[in-house]
Symmetry: C2
Subunit: 279 residues, 2 copies
């Protein structure tokens, strides 16, 4: 019997499903955890979403996502802080400690990445006390450098760990999403460091499909369909002491168009064969 | 009068031009240097190409490109070494010291980036003596991580400098191509290091256009059309002591389809306004 006890479905993988359908799908497939996106939670209503997941006996591995902290103006910054505080409370309501942050890119017309990154650090400092009061960890997710301009100016695990330094490990963690970090020559060393610094908050898996999709956001694939070495990365994550949930998060038009239950079967098969043996 | 004395046209920018046309275009535009690709040189014939450029009074800022060093089998490795030795001799014939290397990606079906990178280091060690005998510098070009799988498993300037460590600065250098490295949080520090270690062999400029083109290779743009901060990067390159040529290398279908002389005028205008003031 394959052990699926650490497998979690990130709701973006079955994009067309409502939260209720995703929960039902997980239960039917024997997947014990879910990582919902906030739009799906909002659609269901927060209290109803929390009850739905709890009644089904699922864990919430993380909440996706807060962030977008790079607004240069006071109004934009206030709005970002308000939205992230709301996300922290949603994480509490959903009974997860881990709130993903995609930190945001350049402001419109801006080219100064150094200044934009400084604003990320400043907003993080603004948010941490509220996160700590609520027992939620802000999880910095380095995104692939191809998304640096418009989505996340945190592009490497080392950079995420550097940003986290001023804060307690319980307050600011980091995520390893294989799609975003597989290419990084520092990956092994930085995963080891994340373990040492007790900040490894999430392991997300999917593959990096080649050639890159025309919409670069959708180049994620089932584990095994792309170029990623899940044995190497899984081993590094395991050796760093990570024992938490493993989320499968795939943005891929073909997978989104497929039947959700069939998608979960493929996810389980690939997880069992390519991920689980090494974690 | 704008000083174009360091401007060089990388021949890929005017892709449809033969080498003779590119040389003629440079002379007409007052661009004193050219960085030819090997296919354009081969097309013209090596001796003829060298004479053509010399007779026109142009410098050759670099030769693009050798590399593709990651073959896993003896036959592929021998072929790669033979091709790179030929490229070294072509650089000599063209009277340039700088031979760009795009190191190559994963072998077909391969997922072990650590092993593939080790092969890059091994082949580099094989090539360096021949490069040194011929007075040619092998210039490691970090490519944007979106090309890691299929083009270059050297993705950051720091990694290129690490690879260069075993070799003399005259034998192995590094390139800063703004498109590939602008996002790197370590960029300033690694450009400083490249200067200290006397390995800064080329500064190539073009912009990073957003959204990323459907063919991710073609997302390069004229300086000013994308997100890159040429003031910051130019200043870092200058402060690192770089005084060599500045090549403009743009892969962009719209620019390729345009009239070459008009392209050179735009290149000069953007260079004068956005690049030159900081270098």
């Amino acid at each position: 019997m394959t052990d699926f006890s650490r497998l979690s479905l990130n709701s973006a993988t079955t994009k067309k499903w409502t939260l209720a359908q995703a929960v039902e799908g997980c239960v039917a497939a024997g997947i014990p955890a879910i990582g919902p996106w906030r739009d799906r939670v909002e659609e269901a209503g927060l209290d109803k979403a929390a009850k739905l997941i709890k009644d089904a006996g699922l864990r919430v591995s993380s909440l996706c996502r807060g962030g977008f902290l790079t607004a240069p103006d006071a109004e934009g910054q206030a709005a970002a802080l308000a939205d992230n505080r709301a996300a922290i409370l949603e994480a509490v309501a959903l009974d997860t400690r881990e709130l993903f942050l995609v930190v945001g890119g350049l402001a419109p017309g801006e080219r100064d990445v150094v200044a934009a990154r400084r604003r990320v650090a400043d907003r993080l400092a603004d948010l941490v006390p509220f996160a700590e009061e609520n027992g939620v960890r802000l999880v910095l997710e380095p995104l692939h450098p191809m998304y640096a301009a418009d989505r996340a100016l945190v592009s490497t695990l080392g950079q995420a760990l550097d940003l986290a330094v001023p804060f307690a490990a319980e307050a600011v963690g980091v995520a390893v999403d294989t799609f975003h970090v597989w290419w990084d020559p520092e990956l092994k060393a930085q995963i080891e460091r994340a373990g040492r610094e007790h900040r490894l908050a999430s392991y997300q898996v999917c593959d990096f499909n080649m050639p890159i999709a025309a919409d670069a956001l959708l180049s994620r694939g089932y584990m095994g369909d792309g170029v990623i070495d899940f044995q190497a990365i899984g081993t590094w994550v395991r050796d760093a002491g990570y024992t938490g949930d493993i989320e499968v998060e795939i943005f891929n038009q073909e997978i989104w168009d497929a039947d959700g239950n069939t998608v979960l079967e493929t996810v389980k098969e690939r997880y069992a064969r390519l991920v689980l043996p090494y974690v």
